[in-house]
Each structure stands twice: as structure tokens, then as C-alpha cells.
Amino acid sequence: MGVVMSNNGIEISSLKEAIQGTWPILPKERTWGALGLTAVAISAGVAAWSYIIGGFVAYYLDAKMGTIAMIAGSLVGMFFVVMATIPSSVKYGIETITASKPQLGTRGAYFSIFIQYASIAGWNCLLLILLGKAAGNIAKEAGWAVDPSSIAIISVLGSLTAITISWLLLRKGAQAIRNYSYWIAIAVTILGLWILYKLVVGVGLTTIFAAKPAYASGDLLWDYTAGFEVLVASVLSWWPYMGGIVRMVPSSRQAVWPAMLCMGLPTGIISLIGLYSALATGSQDPMAWLIKFGGIEMGIVGLIFLGVANIGTAVVGAYVASIGLKQIPVFQKGISWNGITLVVLVPVALIAAFVPNLFFDNSGTFFAFLGVVFAPICGIQIADYFFLRKQQLNVSGLYEKAPGSAYYFIGGINPVGIVALLAGFFTYTYLLNPVTYESAAIFKYMSASIPAIIVSMIVYYLGTKLFIEKSSMGDY
């Protein structure tokens, strides 16, 4: 029937199922390489949500301590994400959801699908609504739109245009994502550094570093830890993105450094724009001062940066979310890649079109609690893969769902995994309320994400040793 065989004896048609689905990708089929993954990582890692992160840190810290706390936090957060995701995904060519089945169970992994989809859809809403709002602001400043309803319409159209572009880029698949990521990476790096340069030159380093935070708590150690924690928690949110992209390179070393230095670290660096903008001008959004310093022309350049950066991130997120959805039986057969990508992006379009302000007003709470989940999930994955399974997984078990299969546990759920997640979740919320930022006394000495990771690791390890290993469950 004209089936083409690779030299492994695997049908080439199954390669498509692997790359656009959840099947393992063999090393020879992974075509991105370190440079390709670097480009994708920069494309994803540079996004305008970092302005908001930097602006938040500016409430508590000045430029010097804020810079250090944010760079340190971005590296530490990415360290845990890398340890939790890269070794297993690269070894076996599996994506994020599949890699979570040994810890959560065959059905428990639906929780991973939920947090992946919700997190990425939520972040994409934020990115693309921000982009639309920026377009509306430019139109207002340029005098192209005057009344609020016109500005709102332009904002919505801007968001919908960005979502459409994202879908068109996404439908070409993994190879296309890698190819255009080279251009996006170059563009966002140049533009991002240009904006930082313009801020430093326009406002002055002296002004930036002399500015005081507006809402410092009075306890400098608390402020310092809070600034660090904001970046750790933010960077942990890269967890859902990792497996789907790092499995496209053949070695872990080719995955680790792009992840650490091109996804994690840029979150901290681009956040500096928000930090310095907020400290020096009162607003974390550089669009306002770009227009003030350089007129509409500079504002448009800023908008281009915003567009390229945010669409790049949105596409990578939508790509991994689409793969994650393939875990759900209804999406495995009979729905095309284009169809699944629509499932990921249409809700974003509906929110951007009909309730953008409602989303914005309530997104802080949503993101705060979502971010709390990623710390414990990293903890249990590290404990399971390194300390319990000694870096060996039952690959058949990752795809079997029947009772008695390797990762079925009890009714498809690993009870120890769930208990460990809850232990990490409550550890975090005890140390720091992610909504109100009220904290326990010891928070300032230890942060919240790191103890949550450690507690979930310990609970998972002990629970598995005491209960699971003694049974026949879990393939230990």
C-alpha cells in the first residue's frame, strides 16, 4: 500500500503519530538539535508577561536587589523544572503528560492534562489580550481611535488577529515551529535588548537605581524573598511546556542548556524591563514611556516586539497543549491536527473577544493557585524518577491503561502521588498565600516553592516506600 519504512522498520506514518501525538520519538527522528531547541526556547521564553512579573517585584524591591532576586529566582525555578522533566522526556522521547503517569497513575495523569491545558490556555489569553490592548493603546495615542468603544474594538481585533496568526503558524507542525522560531528568537532578542537599552538611556541608570519600591513591607528580608519567590513560581510554570519540546532533541545536554538559559533566564531578564519601568516611571508597561520618549514610531516598534514575542510563546504553548490533549481518547482518532489546535485556541479567541476585561480582573487569582501546583509536581517527579525508579521507566506501561498495567495503581490513580501533591500545595499556601501574599513567619527565610518541592518529594518518597513498594502496584 505504499507504506514507507524507516531504517528502524517503523512506518513513517507512525512518525507523524509520534510527533503530533504522544508516542515516543526515537532519537534519529528528533530533528531540532540544540540550535533549534534554543530558538524555540527563546521564542517561548521571551514574552510580555514578564513585564507584569517585573512590575510586581518593583512593589517590594529596588533595582539592585530586584535584579539579583529575579535572576536568581529564574535560575532556581528552571533548575527544578529541568530536573523534573528533561531526563525522562529526552531518554524515552515522551511528552509531559505521559511522563507524569508513573507518579499520578494512568487516570491520575488527567490532572496533568487539566493543569497543562488550563495553564497554557490561561497564559495564552493573557499574552494575546495584552497584545490586543497594546494595539488599542497605540491607536488611541496615534489618534486613530478616540472613543472607548472604538479602542475596545481595535483591542479585540488585535487579539483575534494574533490568535489567527498563531493558529496558521501552528498548523504546519513541529518542523515549521522550529524553522520560524529562528526568526522569532532573533527578533525578540534584538527588540528586547533595544527596549531595555532605550529605557536605560531614556530614564537613566541613576534614576532607575535610585528609585524606591512603592509598597515595600518594611522587612527587607521578606521583600527580598518575595521577589525571589515571584520568579521561582513564575518559572515553574514552564513545566507544562517542557516534555513536548525537549523530546525533539536527541540528548539531554542539548535540552538542558537551552531550557536553563533560553527559557528560564530570559524570564528574569525580560522581567527587568518591567522592574526598571515600574521603578522609574510608575508603570511596568514600557509602551507608555516608549511613546513618551520616541513618539508613535517607537510605540509601534514596541508593539512589534510584543507581537513577535507573545505570538512565539503562544504558538509553542498551543503546540504542547495540543499534544497533551491527544492523551484523551476522543482526540486520538478522527480529529486532525488542525482540529486539535483549534480546540486549544478557540477558547482563547472567545475569551479575548467577549470577556477580556473579566478575564484580566480575575486572572491574578487563577494564576496564583495554578502556579502553586507546579512546585509539588516537580517534587514528586524528581523523587520518583531519580530516587525510586533509578531513571528507568516501563515504557509499555506508559501506554497501557487496563487494570494490572504498570502504572494503574488503584483505579488508575496513585494515591501517594495525590497525597504528595496536596502536601506540597498546603505547604506552599501555609508559607505564602498566593493571592493576598500574607505569609508565615518563616517564609522570609526559606521562600515557599522550594519547601513545597522538598515536602512533596519527601512525602512521595516515604509514602511509596512504606505503602506502594510493598504492594504489587506501580512497577517498583
Partner: protein
């Protein structure tokens, strides 16, 4: 029993991936040392320096 339900091409892939020749290259001890340095030690040094 469960394996029989899997797509034959998936079964082929799984059999290959379970062999070390078809697995992605792992991190070496030096890689882990560098990762710990960049991910934990350097940030700790930065935070201490920033506090002083």
C-alpha cells in the same frame, strides 16, 4: 493482555525505546555538576551578594 490493545506500530516503537541504542543520551556527572552550579549554587551566591 493490555499490550494486545496497543497499536502494532506503537508496540514496535516501545520495543525499540526500551533498548539503550534507541534512547536519548543522558546527562553525565559533569553535566549534573554544571547544572547544580548554575541552578543552585550561583543563584545562592548572587542572593548572598545582593544581601550584603
Amino acid at each position: 493482555m493490555a499490550e494486545e490493545q496497543l497499536d502494532p506500530e506503537l508496540v514496535k516503537r516501545i520495543k525499540l525505546v526500551e533498548h539503550s541504542d534507541y534512547e536519548g543520551d543522558p546527562l553525565t556527572k559533569t553535566d549534573y555538576l554544571l547544572l547544580f552550579t548554575v541552578g543552585l549554587i550561583i543563584p545562592a551566591i548572587l542572593m548572598i551578594w545582593g544581601w550584603s
